[in-house]
Each structure stands twice: as structure tokens, then as C-alpha cells.
Symmetry: C2
């Protein structure tokens, strides 16, 4: 494999339908995501650095050289990975903005990491040093390979944004990857990591370095999984996806982050080794998972006990785990499948997950995060102590940090690299998958520059104006995604001519001239969404959506002190926009308390709706819980 | 306190509305429960003994004296308690039947336990010996006091069934209790146990021995709880009920077994210390718990992660934890509240829980057990390996043994002592709370024998015939419980005169003569049961009940291969009895698969009921999963 050209993007397959444009080619210049990126740059990255120091997770690297790891090391067995994800986030951010202060912070951390690496490339602060368990002695829970995976992803980000840099991160990663190949190769330890991550990372590192050894090692790890090598645990081998080989599985199952990371790695292997069987297996798994195991927000994972997918149709909103990192993993997987296939359904899920999971995790200030993203909170709960890492994944409110603090760094690296998920190219032209105000500039091999400007207020507004800023002498195809939810009512305006368009990619092929304009108009009336009848937990309920956003009722908006759990929506009246808010008409349930809540006849169900119609304002789900403790629900029972 | 007269019953309050009759006074001679008791005696007790030896949990006691506990001890930190619950079950069974072979098994185990007791009374195989953590060094998780509690309950059972026995168990328990009082008294360690149990055990031991010190120590433990002494854990201090003092709490919360055991102990303390405030606090907690946090089966606990109650109305059937031991704990609590107050609602819950939780756990052969009792299983799952303890609490089928194997011994001790929950006495007369074919014989202080025979096919049949077999010279009141579900349609026949009776206790006072007869007739037509509208997880569903039994649809009964999750009940047709089965009319849901299971309009909900009405046979919930792997649901969506 030849090393990929240094496009500033996290995923650069050498084969497949589409090739991404990088941060250097796509600029997000305003709107929803630019604001998120700005908070990420100005608050979140500093916040992460602060907590990583405060909790000693960076200092652990110093201790390898100078301290007493046995006594002084702090953090869980995977804390090294947070430092690497912080590095990855900074690398993308430096690529995006060139911030010199961030560059020096980045280098300082790399220097400390470098000193902890053993001569043979092994790098981990939890294992293998005096007084610690030996290297690779706990593949089930030790996360050593997982940590190396995140190190490689950080190095890939650096290599693709500052290929000329002399900080040494790529060399560190190469030594660590070589150590993994030497240790776990065909003649080495016949094992794999309890938490997938190394698989996708090794393939991407192979792409970045052009060294096929890393691809082969990643493929080997993918093939080893599903054969029971990891041993059993209380919630079953599927927790690690180790009960069924990747090629034979039909759906994502077990721990939802692990499942998505593994599937992403399998797609990477399938793409690079040209393995249509493996690719089809993962596509089918994705299809079944999205059809039966995914929340309306795009969230995945409905079990708190093992942070796992439940069975088909088991999607309780009140116990939605919907881990932020599973959302990130789902975007990783869907993006790889989109690049491989060009099918719009993957971009649909990415959009839904970005707006309703990834952007829900951070609070407005970028300094607190939901680890899980429930769709229904019945009780106010208590506000986490802002001065300590939360020990509760399912915190009642966003917390600044967690003992298992994977979400802040995962959100940060995703937001910093977000421009790389907006547009792609192929032999025919350009494809735009996500709508942001911004610019796209791409020079195809043997072609002339293609420059575009996107103007839109999306998702507040449904009009997306694409203006061509360059002249071409050959025809090429501009493809715009029409989301699945916009299947009825979307239009495309070209040369003043309006035509209805359906879900999928609408295309316009021509020899584009500077000033040419195409306007995609998406239907933005708020709408009721009904669940499949087999999702038991939301039977008799509707959700409200507008554009790509899911809405919710939050107690702080109920001026009459109504209980979010005692409202019934009147679906004969469509949801409206009023005063800038999405509003639904409701009646109040008038529940009578009984000593026993089950009984004969309808009386027992205490469903007499009371009083006049109320106009209840909703809030975009991603924005909830920014106004103090509150109760909330996405799915609303109907009258 | 004077020691209680040795009535053969587990709970003998010195104050309160009602006093229980013991195993020596109530005999269950046939029917549902006699069959269960027979399987318990003939299969379960032997099964438990076999596994306790096989897993080394009895041998651990030998090791204190002769072995190497550090290397050889097996089982979790609470495994001693299973040996004590086994002793308790055997003690009741010996009291019930006088089986000499069981008597010798019992004595053999007591002898081995005795040798493990330290000179100062401390008794535990996990702590305090060479190479082990020190005594009382882990109050949060160590279960040392919990184990002593079960030892005391075993001794109480023995003292009340064989007061003259020379096996030494009561003396062992007394030394252990004295050690607890010396260690944790007002001047001792200011701590308490992470798992309540010692509280109720100490009060009962005080009742059995007449020694108030044990009562005071139990009261001290009750008062210490709720003050944060145990420290925090991931799922919150409420896991241990340590976030709010017992007197201030308004509902049961946290770990459902712990919550019930603690509340039972608090009632015991309130009864013995004549503390109406404490009693009222627990009564209110019970009332709110039953009204908002209890499954239709009587099951409690809806969270797998921490085996805990959820919040009000959070009662998902598919993730019902409904731990068998929480059912046992709920019976313990309700029985104590019934004795204190005489209110029939407590006996109603006991009946419901015995028939639908406690009797659901053991399989028909008495050699396999559900640890949790879900109300909905969507997938077949895999049958547990019968040759190893299951590491999964939520096993797909009943398992012979668990790594945490609290349910077999808890079921065994409950079934063996069940006759003590049937009837009570007070100054007015006799009360019958549970209906079994059997005899009651009681001699009141300063009175003549009262003897009765109960004849009934309950719960298959609703007629309960009570015949008086003794002559009296003074009037007394016979009280019969009319269950809440029988509020409409129950009748009492006295002297050929039939009168309608309502839920609660129906009474008949007279000077009874041999041959007098009273017949209670309960309405046994199967019925639809509707949930409170606030129980989100079963909106739009009904359950089917008949008498005290909850019914379910089980896949093995669907001869046409229908999926239990694709049936809609037609509630316009009442459930019927046909061919000895309860039958409901259903249509098949005809779900269309979509790539995304949420959409606009009713189309997305794919609810076109298809085809003709099907007559679907149901099974009593307690009997499910005895015919191989199956899917099942209690709550059925309606058309």
C-alpha cells in the first residue's frame, strides 16, 4: 500500500465509492456546528487538559521514568487513552486553526508521553513496570491494545494535519504499533483486546504510513474475535463481541462502543483487503441494528448494566443508555460504510446522531458532559459535584468529569475533525452529505479547482444554497443528500426551476461556471413521529421532530407546573412553530392514586384527560438540561 | 422481654394486632402448596446440600480449623449465609415433618459450623483468620453481619421447632450475637452492614431468647442507617438505604432485597419498642412502594445494574429484575406489617407474591431456580449449563445453582415454614389469611381447643369451605380474608344463607359447634387487568389474571408458530376458560420491516392486525419455562 496523500481527514480508504475531503478543503464558517467547534476550541480542550492534569492521568507518563507507578499512578486502566484522545483532538484543532498556543500544549504532552515508552516500543502506564502486572496479562479488561489504538489515531491526525512536524508522535506510534505486530502477529500471542479499537487504528495507521504490516495485524485481530478467546463474563461473551465471528454475526450486540469500534475496524479491513463478504456482513449488521436497536435520536445501547445493546425492540426511553461514545462509534462506523457504498442512509444516521447524541453530551459551556443520554427523566436527581469526577455514568445532570471519562475527549476529537465528514469526492464530482454554512475547495487529480460556498441557516432553516465559485471546463456532478425524513416536500431549485426531489442523493451534472447556484429546500414543519408497533416501551406515544432534530418536553418550560409525565398529546393538531418554539397541544392526565396500580376496567388506568388544551413548548433534545435540574421526555403519550 | 412461647413460627412479636399460628398449629394437607412443600422436602433440600458441598461452601467452615482458608476457601463473601439458610430451611422442615434423616443431616452441618467459631463468638469464613482481611474491615461489602443475621434466623427456627434439642445451634448463635453486641454496641464500632438482615434477626433472636440486648442492638443498627456511614458507590448511597434515615424515607429504594430486609427489621424494632412513628414511616414506605414500584406479579426491583427499585412508575416488564429474594423479603415485610396492623392489603400482597414470584423461581423438579423473574422474554436465550453455577443472575432459563445462589435457600426456608403464614389469632378469635386445604388447631390462653378443617381446590377453584371440628363454650370471631381482586363477586355462605362480601376481612362471630360450616366463594372468572396510565412500559396493554394468579402467553403454546410479540388481544371478548386453560382472543400483528423504525403517519407503526381471531391459551406465570427454551410475555398489547 502506498501512503495516502495527506488529506486532513481521519479516514482515508484506498478503495471504495467515495473519498473524503479534509479539514483543509472544507471550512465550516458559521451556524450550529461552527458554534460547537468554537466552544470546543475555547473551552472544552482547556477543560480536558485541566482535568487530565488534575487527575494525574498525564502525570502517570512521567511516573514511568521518575516516580513510583505502584503507589502514585492514578486513574483506571484505560486512562492513557484519554491523553491520546486529547492529543488527537488537539491535532485536528491545530489542523483546523493553526493555533500556536495549542501547538505548544500539544508538544508538551507528546514529550511526556515519549519518555514513558519502553525501548521496544511498549507504551502503557498500567502494566509492565516494576510492581505492576506483566504486559498483556489481562487482555480481557486491561485495555492495553485499546490504548495503543488511540495513540495510533492521534498520530494519524497529526500526520495528516502537520505531516512535516518534528514533535515525534508518529515515530512513537510507529514503535508502539511495531511492538504490537511483533507481540500479537501470527507467531505471537494468539489474543485480542477486550475493547476493540486497535483494529480500526491499525488499518488507518497502515493507510497513513503505507505499511501493510499494520493492516495485516488489524485484520488478524478482526478474525480472532468471536472465537471465545477472551473468556466468559457475567453478561456473556457478546459483551466483547467474542461469541460470534464478525463474518457470521447478523447484528451489533453487547457493549455498544465496543460493537461499533469493532465494526468500523472490520469495514476498514474489508475495504483495504477487498473483501466483499466481510463488508456485506457488517452492512447487514448495521442495517438490522438501525432498524431494530437504535433510538430515535440515533442513540445506541439500552442496558445500563453492561453499557450494551438490548435485544431487538428493547428500547426503553427511561433507561436509554445511549452512551455518548457509542454515538461517536456509530458515526465512525456509518462514515466508513458511506465511503464504501455511497448510500445516503449512512449519512442520514450520521446527521441524526451528530445532532441528537454527540451534540447533546456537552453542555452549553463545553465544560460538562452527559456520559449517557436518556430519552426520559422522571426525577430531578441531584446535580453532580462539579469538583470531583463523577462515579455515576448515568448522572442526573452533565458532569465536568467522570472516573471513566471517555466522553469529553471523544466529543472533542469528533467536533475538531467535523469538517471532514461534510463532503466527499469521486470520479463523477462532489457529494455534500451534511449541511453547514461554509466553503469547499477541492482540486481533483488532473483537474481544475472546484470551489463552492454553502449558505444556510440549517437546521433552524431548511434552505441550503450552494454557489459555485470556480469555473470548470469539464462537466462534473454535484450530489446533495436529501435526508430520509425529507422524502416528501423537498425541492431543488436550479436556474429558477423548482422540482420535487426524494430522499437519497439528488444530482446535477454540468460544466459549472462561477456564480451558478443550486438551492435545496427541505420541509421544516415540525412533525409527529410514530414508533414501530414492536417497540413496546413507547407504545401509544409520539415523538416530535423538526428537520434533523428530535424535540422533548422539559419541566422548566411548563409554566403551570405540569408534570412532564402527566401530559397527553392531541395528535389531531399538528405541532406548530410559535414564537420560535415548537409547540404541541396537550391535555393534562388526571391520575387518581390507588393503593394498587392494576385493576379491572378502564377505571384502573386513570386516564381521564382533564381541562383545556395546553400549548406546550418543546425544546431541541440536544439543548435540554442547561437550565438546572429538570425532568424531560421525548416520547409523549397521545390522547 | 420474656422469651416467646415456642410457637413454631419465624416471627413472634410481643405486641401488635395479630399473633401467628405456627407449623404445629396449621397443617397444609394438600393442593398447590402441599405439592410445593413436598418437592421442597424431597428434592430441593437435597439439591441444596449437594451444591453446598460441591462448591465447598460448607467445607469452608472445616478449613477454619484444619485447612488453609487463604488458598482453599471457595465462594463469595456471603457464602456462609447460604449454609445458615439451608440450616433454617431444614429446621422448619424437621418441625413440619420430623424427618429423622434430615435431623441427622442438620446436626452434621451444625457440628461443622460449630468448629469454625472463634472463642469470642466471631464466626465467619471469609474474614479474620490468618491471611484474610481483618474482621469488620469491609462493612460496605463484607456481609459479615448479614451472615450472622442468617445464623440467628436459623437458630430461631431451631429453637421454635425443637426447643429441647442438644445440637448446639442456639448456643452458637448466642455467642455470635453476643460478639456482635460487644463489637457494635454504643461504645463499639459505630458502623452497620452493607446488606441489612442483622436487624430483623437480632430482634427475633431477642424474642426467642428473651434477652433485650439483642433488641437494642438491632434498634441501634436501624437508627445508624441513612446517615452515610457506609460511603458512596456508583449507583448511589440509596443502594444500601444509607442516604436517608429509615424514619424519614417515604418509599423503598435501592437494592430491593436490602430494602425489604431493612424495612422488616424496622417494623420489628417499632413493634417491640412501641414506636408508632417508626411503624408509620415503614407503613407509608410500603404503601408508596406497592402503589408505584411493584410489578403485577408482586415482584419488586426493575434495575439489573444494582438489583434495585427504579423510580416511581419505572416498571419495564422486559427488564423486570423482580429478584426471587426480593419477593421473599417483601413477604417478610408485609407479614410483619400484617401482624402489627391486621390490614388485609398486606395479606393480599403476600398471596400475590407467593403465587407469582416465590413459586415461579423453582422449576417443577425443585432443582433449578430463577434468580430474577422477568415478565417478558423476547429471545429464547441459551439454557444454563446444568453442571456449573451460573454466573448470570438474569439467566435465560432456571439454573441449578448460581455463583450468588441466594434464591434456592431463600425459597426453601420460605416453603418449609409456609404454614406459619396462613392464620393468626387475637383476643377475638382466628383469622385466616391464605387458603389451603388443611387443618388449624389452636388453644388460646385460658380457652378450649379450636379446631378447623379447610377444604378447597384454591387457586384452581374459588370455593373455600371452613368446617369447625371443636365445640366451644364462648363466642369467638372467625375472620376470612376476601382478596382485593375479589372485591366484586365474592360471597359468604353461613347456614345456607348466601351474602355478598367485599374485600377485606369478612367476620362471623358465634359460639362455634363441631360441624358448623362457613363457605367463602371467590369469583374465579379470568379477567383483564389494566395498568395505571403512568406505567409507561405497559401502556396500551392488558394482563390476564385468574384468582391470585397472573397469566402469560408462552411461545411453546402457540401451535401456529406465532410470535408472542406479534399478538394483539381483543379485549371486547373476555378471557375464557376452555379445556382447563385460560384463553384469550387475539389477532396477529402484521409488522412490515422498515430500514428505520420511526416515521410519520400511522404507516410507520405497522399495526395492521391480520387474519382471523386466534384463541391463544395462556399459562399461569409461575409455571412458565418448564418446557424448554421459550419466549413469554405477561402484558399483551390490545387491538
Amino acid at each position: 500500500m502506498a501512503p495516502s496523500a495527506p488529506t486532513a481527514a481521519p479516514v482515508l480508504p484506498s478503495r471504495g465509492r467515495l473519498q473524503p475531503l479534509g479539514l483543509d478543503e472544507v471550512r465550516i464558517t458559521g451556524g450550529f456546528w461552527a458554534e460547537r467547534q468554537s466552544v470546543n476550541a475555547e473551552a472544552t480542550l482547556e477543560h480536558i487538559g485541566h482535568w487530565l492534569e488534575r487527575e494525574g492521568w498525564i502525570r502517570n507518563f512521567d511516573l514511568v521514568d521518575t516516580g513510583d507507578l505502584t503507589r502514585e499512578r492514578r486513574g483506571r486502566e484505560f486512562s492513557d487513552s484519554e491523553v491520546y484522545k486529547y492529543l488527537e483532538a488537539m491535532a485536528w484543532e491545530i489542523g483546523r486553526t493553526g493555533d500556536p498556543e495549542l501547538e505548544s500544549r500539544f508538544r508538551a504532552v507528546v514529550t511526556r508521553v515519549a519518555r514513558a515508552q519502553d525501548a521496544d516500543g511498549y507504551l502503557n502506564t498500567k502494566f509492565g513496570h516494576s510492581g505492576q502486572p506483566p504486559r498483556w496479562s489481562d487482555l480481557q479488561w486491561g485495555h492495553e491494545l485499546y490504548c495503543v489504538g488511540h495513540l495510533l489515531q492521534a498520530a494519524v491526525a497529526r500526520a495528516r494535519t502537520r505531516p512535516e512536524a518534528d514533535d515525534g508522535l508518529v515515530a512513537i506510534a510507529r514503535r508502539a504499533a511495531d511492538n504490537v505486530c511483533a507481540t500479537f502477529g501470527p507467531d505471537g500471542i494468539d489474543g485480542l483486546c477486550g475493547h476493540p479499537e486497535i483494529e480500526t487504528a491499525l488499518v488507518e495507521f497502515a493507510r497513513a504510513t503505507g505499511d501493510d504490516r499494520y493492516l495485516h495485524q488489524g485484520a488478524l485481530f478482526v478474525e480472532r474475535r468471536g472465537t471465545g478467546r477472551l473468556g466468559d463474563v457475567e453478561w456473556g461473551r457478546e459483551y466483547f463481541q467474542d461469541e460470534t465471528p464478525v463474518r457470521e454475526a447478523t447484528v451489533l450486540r453487547g457493549h455498544a462502543v465496543r460493537a461499533n469500534y469493532l465494526a468500523a475496524g472490520a469495514v476498514d479491513v474489508a475495504a483495504e483487503t477487498d473483501d466483499p463478504d466481510l463488508m456485506k456482513a457488517v452492512r447487514d449488521q448495521w442495517r438490522n441494528t438501525v432498524a431494530r436497536r437504535t433510538y430515535v435520536t440515533g442513540g445506541q445501547g439500552s442496558r445500563h448494566q453492561d453499557e450494551a445493546f438490548g435485544e431487538d425492540w428493547g428500547l426503553p426511553p427511561d433507561r436509554a443508555y445511549s452512551e455518548t461514545c457509542a454515538g461517536v462509534g456509530s458515526v465512525m462506523l456509518a462514515w466508513r460504510l458511506l465511503l464504501a457504498s455511497g448510500d445516503s442512509g449512512y449519512a442520514d444516521l450520521i446527521e441524526r446522531t451528530l445532532f441528537n447524541v454527540v451534540s447533546t453530551s456537552p453542555g452549553a459551556d463545553g465544560r460538562q458532559f452527559f456520559y449517557t443520554n436518556t430519552l426520559h427523566r422522571r426525577e430531578l436527581g441531584t446535580v453532580p459535584d462539579g469538583d470531583r469526577p463523577s462515579i455515576r455514568a448515568a448522572a442526573a445532570q452533565r458532569a465536568p468529569w467522570y472516573e471513566v471519562s471517555c466522553c469529553p475527549t471523544n466529543v472533542a476529537r469528533t467536533l475538531a475533525s467535523l469538517a471532514a465528514y461534510v463532503a466527499t469526492t469521486d470520479d463523477e464530482g462532489l457529494q455534500i452529505h451534511q449541511y453547514v454554512p461554509g466553503t469547499i475547495a477541492h482540486r481533483p487529480v488532473d483537474g481544475t479547482d472546484r470551489r463552492l460556498t454553502l449558505t444556510t441557516g440549517y437546521p433552524a432553516d431548511g434552505q441550503i444554497r450552494v454557489r459555485i465559485d470556480s469555473d470548470d471546463d469539464r462537466p462534473w456532478t454535484l450530489s446533495l443528500r436529501v435526508p430520509g425524513w425529507a422524502d416528501r416536500g423537498a425541492t431543488l431549485t436550479v436556474d429558477g426551476e423548482v422540482r420535487p426531489v426524494r430522499a437519497g442523493y439528488v444530482t446535477e451534472r454540468r460544466t459549472w461556471r462561477r456564480g451558478d447556484e443550486v438551492v435545496l429546500s427541505l420541509p421544516m414543519a415540525p412533525r409527529f413521529t410514530h414508533p414501530d408497533a414492536r417497540i413496546d416501551a413507547v407504545r401509544g406515544c409520539v415523538a416530535v421532530e423538526r428537520g434533523p432534530l428530535v424535540f422533548a418536553v422539559e419541566s422548566v418550560d411548563l409554566s403551570g407546573g405540569e408534570n412532564v409525565d402527566e401530559l397527553l398529546v392531541d395528535t389531531s393538531q399538528p405541532p406548530m412553530l410559535a414564537g420560535g418554539r415548537v409547540v404541541v397541544c396537550c391535555r393534562r392526565l388526571d391520575p387518581a392514586d390507588h393503593h394498587w396500580p392494576y385493576g379491572g376496567g378502564e377505571a384502573a388506568s386513570t386516564t381521564t384527560p382533564r381541562g383545556d388544551l395546553l400549548e406546550v413548548p418543546l425544546i431541541a433534545y440536544h439543548a435540554w438540561a442547561n437550565r438546572g435540574p429538570s425532568t424531560m421526555r421525548v416520547w409523549l403519550p397521545t390522547i
